[in-house]
């Protein structure tokens, strides 16, 4: 998905440049780093950012700093830590990054406590901890030794993430309207890395000061995870090009497209046929009978009308739907198991077959 989205955005190198530039701006505005830094939390994007910003801040103090990353559960972790802490030939500073200290082996634990007791002059320590009670003892010792803690906990979906995005925009010295932030979040979904990337992209590409919902729409329409219902609506509207485009987008965005799409198309078809079967009833009665909101009935009647000369194809769609449902669930006959491509092919066939105009 990331690759797809990047390929779609114009001027990708620009994005990379901006991200790099931002990092260095932020680093220079940071307070002097502490000898020990704790990145606590399980949001990878925030952890990475905490680590890279701290490294950058340290690098600003001493340009010759070298970086060593050691997983806390590795067998030779303790030895590597001791190596990194011992003074080196040229007196260069070392940033020691120990990841996942919740799973620290006893040796690593001892080595880190050794650093706490006797911090080496030239060494800086950054540890990451995903949260939870494992390794809490060590974490408390690091805190007591004056470790600066950076909160990297995963953001809750919804409000918390939206607030984070707003702050993120502000850190670029830009502003975005509230509905634009929400629209961006809706369009991309709860993937912090993509969201942050999208914001820096917007900040660099949008010329005017305030980023509005129009900017979001012009950049992200269609990229949003397409709901099955969007595809279903296009199909029963007989807008085959739109249907196909939405389906392809949905497939690119997620592996789990088949079942929800078939279900959405089936309930759409049920509603269209249901509305078509009650041509003289009032909208309200139809809505009650087939279980849709009343405002939808008009649309359903229009969809029915689009198929009125082509009833047999609509009936064939019902058969094709069941076939596609079997296909996306792995094939009907015992022992059959369809590959992902075959499942998607079944969906594409379904969409094309049902929405295309009658040939000739």
């Amino acid at each position: 998905m990331l690759a797809g989205a990047l390929a779609w955005w114009p001027e990708v190198p620009n994005l990379v440049k901006v991200v790099l530039a931002c990092c260095s701006i932020m680093a220079s505005s940071l307070p002097a780093p502490s000898r020990i830094t704790i990145a606590a939390g399980n949001e990878p994007m925030l952890v990475d950012r905490a680590v890279s910003e701290t490294c950058a801040a340290i690098g600003a103090l001493d340009a010759s700093t070298q970086r060593v990353t050691i997983p806390a559960n590795s067998d030779d972790g303790a030895a590597l830590i001791r190596d990194a802490m011992s003074p080196n030939l040229f007196g260069d500073a070392t940033v020691l990054i120990v990841t996942g200290v919740d799973a620290a082996s006893d040796d690593v634990d001892t080595a880190l406590r050794g650093f706490i007791a006797e911090p080496a002059e030239h060494a800086w320590l950054i540890v990451t901890h995903p949260g939870g009670v494992k390794g809490k003892n060590l974490l408390d010792a690091l805190r007591a030794a004056g470790g600066a803690e950076i909160d990297c906990k995963a953001l809750k979906k919804g409000k918390a993430t939206i607030e984070f995005l707003t702050r993120e925009v502000r850190s670029h010295n830009r502003s975005m309207t509230a509905d634009a932030v929400t629209a961006l979040y809706d369009a991309i979904g709860h993937d912090l890395r993509l969201l942050v990337g999208a914001i820096s992209q917007l900040c660099s590409d949008v010329d005017h000061d305030l980023i509005t919902i129009d900017d979001i729409n012009s950049y992200f329409t269609g990229v949003a995870e397409v709901a099955g219902y969007t595809i279903a609506d296009s199909v029963w509207d007989r807008r085959s090009v739109d249907a196909m485009r939405s389906l392809r987008w949905a497939m690119a965005a997620s592996d789990n497209v088949g079942v929800p799409t078939v279900l959405a198309m089936a309930s759409g078809l049920r509603a269209v046929v249901g509305a078509g079967g009650m041509p003289t009833a009032s909208d309200l009665d139809v809505a009650k009978a087939i279980g849709v909101p009343p405002w939808k009935v008009k649309n359903l009647r229009q969809q029915w009308a689009r198929w009125s000369g082509d009833q047999r194809r609509l009936a064939a769609a019902a058969v094709a739907l069941a076939d596609a449902d079997g296909a996306v669930k792995g094939g009907v006959r015992i022992g059959s198991s369809l590959a992902a491509e075959q499942k998607l092919l079944a969906l594409e066939k379904l969409v094309l077959l049902t929405s295309a105009r009658r040939a000739g």
Binding site: A266, G277, R313, A316, A318, D325, V332, R333
Partner: protein, 397 residues
């Protein structure tokens, strides 16, 4: 009175199993008993009584009289109340590898009050491949007192690795006369109704009993068989599909609701819910977790039951079109739905044998679809469309 009375029209199977029980008796005294072995596979069409046969066999093995039918062991074993007879009934859609691992341990226990520890696996066709692999070793060489009895619709439904490790007991579909006789003997059903139920159920004994004793079941069946006459347009196809599913769900509910209720009451009783003091703290959390787990299992069971009921409806439809074909081909065999002869003749007159063949194929395919996981409503809608217009697939090509 004998334990084998529960089986209808399976004389050969009964003889085979009686020989096995006699051999088992010899084995316990250290003499050779060639008719007995440690792993059996019971196959037979749905409703022929394969799990009944397995349970009877299990009861006869743990009965000291070799299946007298009256002692404590004979009465408790079929109800799942005998210590040495474990009945495993995969409630969900499949039987998982974890459950299979537990089962192997359970099967290794020594018998408590008899010579044999019998493990009955109903619906062995629902074992996943991994579960089968876990069981293989134990089925091939179980501990000396353990007997495996597996049940499946046909040999093709279980992996060949199981088939080659078991002795095969094939039940046949009991004849209409045998089923009718069993109904009148056991449930004192009126002769005419018994004959109808035996015909309509096509040898499925449980179904025959339901049709013979439950007025609602008869009514619902009659409604289903009117479906082909009601398919006028696309809308009516969808309405009929929804009606069939509703009826099947109602039938499934009637089966699962009392079970669910009883299981929840059992659970609550074991945690002391409803006693004088309200439970709280750790106990309450533990009970809530157990309830959540139970509800999840009940949900998969109800999904499965709905599917089974839909399948039964489709079998009824299959029977109807079989009758249509019988008339169209002037075959001299009795109709399954004799009471609907006029309607069947009308359906036969309005279509060709070729159409009927397509319809039969469509019903069969819909059964396969729904069994393999296609949403029942979608499968039924597709089927109704195909029944109305058996050549619809060529329209979409």
């Amino acid at each position: 009175m004998s334990i084998w009375d529960a089986l209808v029209g399976q004389d050969e199977v009964v003889a085979q199993l009686e020989r096995a029980v006699a051999s088992a008796e010899l084995l316990t005294r250290g003499e050779p008993g060639p008719a007995m072995t440690h792993a059996w596979l019971f196959t037979g069409p749905p409703g022929s009584g394969r799990s009944t046969a397995a349970t009877c066999f299990g009861a006869a093995l743990v009965c000291l009289e070799g299946g007298c039918g009256v002692c404590q062991a004979c009465r408790n074993a079929p109800l799942g109340g005998h210590l040495d007879v474990d009945v495993i009934r995969p409630d969900g859609l499949s039987y998982s590898v974890d459950e299979a691992r537990d089962l192997v341990k359970q099967a290794a226990m020594s018998p408590a009050s008899s010579h044999w520890h019998v493990v009955i696996v109903e619906d062995a066709d629902r074992l996943t491949d991994q579960a089968v692999n876990v069981l293989l070793k134990s089925i091939e060489e179980p501990p000396p007192h353990t007997i495996w009895l597996l049940c499946a619709p046909s040999v093709e439904d279980v992996p060949p690795t199981i088939v080659s490790r078991t002795r095969h007991v094939a039940l046949r579909t009991p004849s209409t006369a045998e089923v009718a006789k069993a109904l009148t003997d056991r449930y004192a059903v009126d002769g005419a109704i018994a004959a109808f139920a035996a015909r309509a159920s096509q040898g499925h004994i449980g179904r025959a009993r339901a049709l013979a004793t439950d007025e609602h079941a008869r009514l619902r069946r009659a409604e289903v068989l009117r479906v082909p006459l009601e398919l006028r347009d696309l809308n009516s196809c969808f309405v009929c599909a929804a009606n069939i599913l509703d009826a099947a769900s109602a039938d499934a509910d009637a089966i699962t609701a009392p079970l669910n209720q009883a299981e929840i009451e059992d659970l609550d009783a074991s945690y002391g819910v409803g006693g004088s003091a309200a439970i709280k703290g750790q106990l309450k959390r533990s009970r809530d977790a157990a309830l959540k787990d139970l509800t999840k299992r009940q949900k998969t069971r109800s999904t499965r039951t709905v599917r089974d009921q839909v399948d039964r409806v489709l079998l009824d439809l299959l029977g109807l079109y079989r009758d249509v074909l019988v008339i169209q081909l002037d075959a001299v065999v009795p109709l399954i739905n004799e009471e609907m002869r006029p309607q069947i003749q009308q359906l036969a007159a309005n279509s060709t044998a070729n159409d009927t063949g397509r319809r039969l194929g469509a019903i069969d395919y819909a059964r396969a679809q729904i069994q393999s996981g296609v949403t029942p409503l979608i499968g039924l809608e597709s089927l109704m469309v195909e029944i109305k217009d058996p050549w619809i697939r060529s329209a979409s090509a």
